[in-house]
Structure formats: structure tokens, C-alpha cells
Amino acid sequence: MSIKDDKRGKIRVFLIDDHPIVRDGVRAFLTSCAIDVVGEASDAPEALRKVKKIAPDVIVLDVNLPSMDGWEVAERLRRLVPKSRIIAFSIHSSEEYVARMARSGASGYVMKSQPTSELLDAIREVFKGKRYFPACVENVAPARKLKPF
């Protein structure tokens, strides 16, 4: 297998978080697990501008960006890059947040207080087309269909 093919086989992940240190941590961890971090953004406008061009397989989205609510970003991302799977990455563990993100199109939800390996599991699961939510909200209704922009 050529290096190019090998690279193409990796899951391509885009990170959105306003804290550089979190992006550094997630990037370092995922890279060490053979995940290709193809881009990053620190806020919603930057993310929306970059993802369309990059078309990542999976987007790791901080729910608490300063400029826009996480669910609004998720809905916009779904319209922009419908094939990308979104994982909400959050400090909030309440059912309300998880359900809201699921309804807005996230395929998974991982708490920042969980071991980083949870994020890796979530990325692999949603890449396979599965959902990855905390057990308490497994039955939450999936996102409704959205019309693209």
C-alpha cells in the first residue's frame, strides 16, 4: 500500500474548539491513534468557512463556542457538509444538552471529562454510520432532515 493510499484510508477529522489547548490535546491524541486531523477552527464562522473545502469525515464540535450555540453550528454544518458526521464535545453532561445536539444533527456526544479514548471510540463508531450517545439518552430522536443551503 502506498503512503497516499494509507493516508486516504485514515478517518479525516476536523476540530472546532475555541481553546487552543484542547485542540492541541485532541490533535496530539488522535494523531497518535492514526486519525488524520485535516483542519481546525476556533469559532463558528471559521469552521463554516473551512469545512466545505475540506469535507471531513467527522467533525468534533465544541458545544460552547463563544459566537454561536452548538446546536446552531451543528445544523449549519449539516447543511454545508451533509456527509460529515458530527460529534458534540462538551463540558455539559445534562440530558437536555445531549438531546438538543442529537436533534440538531450530531451523531455522537462525548463529555470533555471522559477519557480521551471515548472520543476515539465515538469517531470510529460514527464514521461507520453508527450513533454514539451516553446511555441515558440513547433513545433520543435523530435529527430531522434539513434542506441544504
Binding site: D24, G25, A28, S94, Q114, T116, L119
Partner: protein
């Protein structure tokens, strides 16, 4: 003759978010001058390990779920008096910075600052200096005008602060509080900072407990973790 290399600064990390610890560790490890000698995700673990490892610098998340950052800074100062403490926080407000300084921190770095700032801070405090936002130095140096507000009566809170406290205790985030009260998010954050400062309670768990104890919210509603 080969020049003898400088010993690395021994740093200990305290943060409840593994991704943050991972980020700090990977960044600091890539810098030749620093060695990450240990990590902890909560106050108890931090106090236990810090005593054993005797680090030179401790990077301390100001918002741990179990104990507020100021309190932990005080305890760490007693446990490892030689260690320099840097508050590492999502909060930029003067109240948080001043409180950490008064609790014995030697520096304060925002989590959304470029990561290089953390190395600057580590080197500065390791040399015996302080590393705080320069615009807050007057507030840090100003004498305390009142004793610790711990246990202060809730009547010291304004009506708006009580409303914000009740909504926070019911699990609402700052944005939701703002929406509910028809105020801006920034104003809601300011109310929260003020009431935290007045009550000397920095964590949402602590505020929720206070609100329940003082009959400001119902017990039936689940609390929600928040920075």
C-alpha cells in the same frame, strides 16, 4: 567541552478534562525546558500526588468540580510550599484573577490564550516572578476591603443576582439564563461572577448547593455541570 544542559522545570498538571491535560502535556513536552512529572483530575488526587512529586510549578484548573480553584491553591501552598502555582482558566474576569492571586497563585493564564503563554508563565514563576495580566496588577495589589465573604448572608445579593443564581441552580447555562431574563449573555456572566465572588463559591455545584440550602430552588431539578 560539552555544555551542561539546564535541568528541566518539573511541572504538575491539575485539570478535570483529559483533553486539556493531553494538550498541555504534549505541548510542554515538545518544549525542551519543561518536564511534566504528574497529573491529576481532581483536588484530592492533586494534593496526594503533589506532596509525593514535589513539582516546581503546578498548572491548576480554576474550575475543578470538587473544590474551587482558590481553595485548592491555598491547600497546595500548604502541602508543597515551594511549588509555584499558575491558575489556568476559561474565566478572564478580574474577580477570578484577584481571587487566585490572593489564594497564593503566582500566575494566571487563560485557556484561550496562545499555548506559548503558558510556557512564558512557567518560566517566569519558576524564576521567582509573577505572571498576571498587567492591567489587573492594581486590583491584585489593592488591600482587601472586606474579610472573606464565606457564609455571607444571601440578602447581600441583589434581586437580579438571586434570579440568576436560582436559574443556574436549576441547570441553565449562562446563555439560557440571559434569554430567560431578557439580558445579554455578558450581563448574565457578570451577575454570575459577582454572586460567586460575594458568596465565595466558584463552582456551579457549590452555587447549586447554596441555592438549595437557602430555599432558592427546588430540590427536584437536576444540577448541571458547568465551568
Amino acid at each position: 567541552m560539552k555544555k551542561k544542559s539546564q535541568p528541566k522545570i518539573k511541572v504538575f498538571l491539575v485539570d478535570d478534562h483529559p483533553a486539556v491535560r493531553e494538550g498541555v502535556r504534549s505541548y510542554l513536552t515538545s518544549q525542551g525546558s519543561v518536564a511534566v512529572v504528574g497529573e491529576a483530575s481532581d483536588a484530592k488526587e492533586a494534593l496526594r500526588k503533589a506532596k509525593k512529586l514535589a513539582p516546581e510549578v503546578i498548572i491548576l484548573d480554576v474550575n475543578l468540580p470538587s473544590l474551587d480553584g482558590g481553595e485548592l491553591a491555598r491547600k497546595l501552598r500548604l502541602t508543597v510550599p515551594r511549588a509555584k502555582i499558575i491558575g489556568f482558566s476559561v474565566h478572564a474576569s478580574q474577580e477570578y484573577v484577584v481571587r487566585m492571586a490572593r489564594c497564593g497563585a503566582h500566575g494566571y493564564v487563560m485557556k484561550d490564550a496562545p499555548t506559548a503563554k503558558l510556557v512564558e508563565a512557567i518560566q517566569q514563576v519558576h524564576k521567582g516572578g509573577l505572571y498576571f495580566p498587567p492591567e489587573m496588577s492594581d486590583a491584585i495589589l489593592a488591600p482587601e476591603t472586606k474579610p472573606s465573604a464565606e457564609g455571607e448572608d444571601k440578602s447581600a445579593l441583589t434581586t437580579r443576582e438571586k434570579e440568576v443564581l436560582a436559574l443556574l441552580a436549576e441547570g441553565l447555562a449562562n446563555k439560557q439564563v440571559a434569554r430567560k431574563l431578557g439580558i445579554s449573555v455578558r450581563t448574565a456572566e457578570t451577575h454570575r461572577e459577582h454572586l460567586s465572588h460575594k458568596l465565595n463559591i466558584m463552582t456551579i455545584a457549590g452555587l447549586t448547593k447554596y441555592a438549595i440550602q437557602h430555599g432558592m430552588t427546588s430540590l427536584g431539578l437536576p444540577a448541571q455541570p458547568k465551568t
